[in-house]
Symmetry: C2
Subunit: 166 residues, 2 copies
């Protein structure tokens, strides 16, 4: 019987999910290279994401975005803790009130800086994922959407520019 580790005990998947059937998700690429931090902590690391060759067809306009939301798969997830001290404030919470990778659905969602797009390779800053991590999706950020997709140069100037300026 397939199990999942919860609070370090194997628990039958069926006792958690009942008869809910799994959905099949295919990675669109992988993290192939993780740079070193440049002095300001983990979030400033650069990472290279290599998308599958067939993804080229779906990348129009991506090079004009300056930040993206990356969905990725925690493929090294361990036991799911039902309550633990949350990283940034030490408050004791469950996985749904946290960003822990040790969660029932091990999908990470991280907004990263998009530094470069070359073919199907993306160079990003701020992705906290190991080399080899499967990447599930790339989306524009909600912030980018709200700002009408203005370039970061405009944002740095603090300009308000309207959505039609893209």
């Amino acid at each position: 019987m397939p199990t999942i580790l919860i609070d370090h005990q194997p628990v039958p998947i069926e006792s958690i999910y009942g008869d809910v059937q799994p959905i099949a998700i295919r990675p669109i690429g992988h993290v192939v290279e993780v740079g070193s931090a440049d002095g300001s902590g983990n979030s400033s690391k650069t990472s290279k994401i290599q998308l599958l060759p067939a993804m080229a067809r779906f990348m129009s306009g991506l090079e004009e975005e300056t930040s993206v939301l990356v969905l990725w798969y925690f493929d090294r997830a361990a036991s799911v803790e039902s309550v633990f001290p949350r990283g940034w404030d030490g408050k004791r919470v469950g996985p749904f009130a946290s960003r822990t990778p040790h969660r029932l659905t091990p999908i990470g969602a991280t907004e990263v800086e998009l530094l470069e797009v070359r073919g199907t390779t993306l160079l990003v800053r701020g992705l906290e994922a190991f080399e080899g991590t499967p990447v599930l999706d790339i989306k524009v950020t909600m912030q980018s959407l709200r700002e009408g997709g203005r370039r970061s140069t405009d944002r740095r100037r603090g300009g308000q520019g309207d959505a039609g300026s893209v």
Copy 2:
């Protein structure tokens, strides 16, 4: 041979993904009720999310969050368009430079207002998903993390409060 609709043509999955194996993701609940808009457009709709009974164990502290990131599954996705005019600015882009539900990995990521948590039922505002939509994950928002999990009442006051105030 399993196919996927791209630009309205069936394309063999293998020609997109090669030998990349799918990952099995299990929904943790569903959207069970969608309220009507309250005058300010689609994003102001309330939705009820019913999590599976076993999820109660993982919800500690969730009721103290005022916004959450919901990952959900576009189970009514149609043909993936490789280039199309993006919703908010009309720019012609591919799915990776958009938030379209018609994408290779049909997972939505939406930050919503968390209005109420009662048992394993969440009442949220701002989720643009149909009734019956599978919900894959609930996370605290990056904004909540950055603000140290301060309550929205504090945010409305514009207080800066430190992370230790939670």
